[in-house]
């Protein structure tokens, strides 16, 4: 049985025929849409490398069935820059050496964008670290990551703490 799934990915509406309901959102992005910026680390929800923003919220795309997200709006690392102009979070990661090998970086950046939008962490480094704890970095660039998130938040203008649904 084929499943027709329509997603808005980085602002572009895409309709994909899935021949198998087992395909995760991560595999759909990487294998069907050639958006390989989103990384497959553990594929079990433990490392955060696959973090994308779905309907405004950061989630692990490896633990999301693509077919279940029919109609969703998905933002991946490929969609955050404005042409040649990097996203403030990308700029901050470069400025603060928030990476070494770079494998976890797309997930870190998507998670940081999600964290800033959530507006829970403020300028407290402890809250930033806690809020980013779902993204592992085997190179141990955590110091730079925390600094980058704090600076990017300042650059973006921290939203007030959100009133949740």
């Amino acid at each position: 049985m084929a499943f027709s799934t329509t997603l808005t990915v980085n602002g572009v509406k895409r309709t994909i025929q899935l021949d198998d309901p087992r395909i995760t959102l991560l595999d759909l992005l990487r294998e069907h849409l050639d958006l390989t910026g989103t990384k497959k680390g553990c594929d079990r929800g433990q490392c955060g490398a696959c973090t994308v923003i779905v309907d405004g919220r950061r989630i692990n795309s490896c633990l999301a069935l693509a077919v279940s997200h029919d109609g969703a709006d998905v933002l991946t690392i490929e969609g955050v820059a404005d042409g040649d102009r990097l996203h403030p979070v990308q700029e901050a990661f470069i400025a603060h050496d928030g990476l070494q090998c770079g494998f976890c970086t797309p997930g870190q950046i998507m998670s940081a964008i999600g964290l800033i939008a959530e507006g829970q962490a403020g300028d407290d480094p402890e809250r930033v670290r806690e809020g980013m704890s779902g993204n592992l970095c085997r190179c141990g660039a955590y110091q730079g990551i925390t600094e980058a998130v704090l600076e990017a938040q300042k650059a973006l203008g921290a939203p007030s703490r959100r009133k949740a649904a």
Binding site: S68, D124, G134
Partner: protein
């Protein structure tokens, strides 16, 4: 991954009908189920996707002062709902101490209640596990079992229940609303999870066709808001399951405890209510001596299931510490490291 059919019902009634087929499983966010399917631990032949069902994603204040939480409310949305977190701060703190922001953004209330143990032998399909394969034996019994149960376990299963959320919920008398072929019914959460006994594969009171539609907290549960904490020891600072956790909630009037609630996580095959401890606390002055007596009572029946004797003393200490923190007053905001024993002692009390 074993192949499965995928169906997306439009109503609870349709979902129940679709899930009545043998081999069917309900799918909500899938943060636990997809992991289990990838590992070959769960092998459903049909997934009934309930994540799009209408009207199950509301947090509703009830006329009697209680609150009703739809089964599809996301963990993060519940924890960050200001009214909810103000009235039930211990539940918000427990939620925020669990998993990661990404997982909390996806995982649902109903799914949290139904998550499976993280026992490594349950997850490893090459190991014997009575829960995964009834009658196969339990490799955890003679294996790496320092994190396993110290209460409520049986020779057939020593796995612990992993939920943080459920711990304050049972302390606060949460009720689970269920719908199935036979109609709607409700069960106190404390009676929802089963002890393993000889049937560790049967983890809850749900029949295969039944689904959770909502969770309720009674009005009285909000009476503990001023003195309620969740405390959780992990093997790393964040993003880890509990080695031992405790929820402590007190109602204090004129320097006396008029009502107390204590529950533990990470110690048993189900979230563990410590009524013996509550009975000792009721009517007493909140001081260290009574907290130690209550903690001793909470762990009176504990015994190691393996190389985990240390968890008994650890659990006593965590109960005492949770009670001390609860007595000091709920902080105005959930601490930067929710439920962490490394966090500074609470600041300004949330309620004067």
């Amino acid at each position: 991954m074993k192949p499965f059919d995928y169906v997306r019902p439009a109503s609870v009634r349709e979902a129940v009908a679709a899930a009545s087929e043998p081999g069917a499983a309900y799918l909500a966010a899938g943060t636990n189920l997809l992991d289990l399917i990838k590992g070959g631990i769960s092998r459903p032949s049909r997934l009934v996707d309930v994540s799009h069902l209408p009207d199950l994603d509301h947090i509703e204040d009830l006329a009697d002062g209680g609150v009703r939480i739809g089964a599809l409310v996301r963990n993060a949305d519940l924890a960050h709902d200001r009214d909810f977190a103000q009235r039930f701060p211990v539940v918000a703190e427990a939620l925020l101490s669990g998993a990661s922001a990404q997982l909390r953004n996806a995982a649902t209330v109903g799914g949290n209640l139904l998550q499976r143990t993280r026992c490594a032998y349950f997850y490893d399909v090459a190991s014997a596990c009575n829960k995964r394969d009834p009658g196969a034996g339990c490799d955890a019994r003679g294996g790496e079992n320092r994190l396993h149960a110290i209460l409520g376990w049986s020779e057939n299963c020593i796995a612990t229940h992993p939920s943080d959320f459920c711990v304050p919920l049972i302390a606060l008398d949460a009720v689970v609303e269920i719908e199935g072929k036979a109609g709607r019914r409700e069960i106190p959460l404390e009676k929802f999870h089963r002890l393993p006994g000889n049937t560790p594969e049967r983890e809850t009171m749900l029949e295969p066709d039944e689904m959770i539609v909502a969770l309720r907290l009674p009005a009285e549960a909000a009476g503990f808001a001023a003195h309620a904490r969740y405390l959780k020891v992990r093997e790393r600072t964040s993003y880890a399951f509990a080695v031992v956790s405790a929820a402590a909630a007190l109602r204090v009037e004129h320097d006396r405890i008029v009502d107390a609630r204590v529950a533990l996580g990470g110690v048993a095959p189900k979230p563990w209510r410590a009524r013996e401890a509550e009975a000792i606390l009721a009517g007493a002055r909140p001081d260290d001596a009574i907290f130690h007596r209550a903690a001793a009572a909470a762990l009176a029946d504990a015994r190691p299931s393996g190389n985990n004797n240390f968890k008994i003393e650890l659990a006593r200490r965590i109960v005492v510490r949770a009670l001390v923190l609860a007595a000091a007053g709920t902080p105005q905001r959930v601490p930067a490291l929710p439920a962490s024993p490394f966090a500074a002692v609470s600041g300004v009390a949330i309620h004067a």
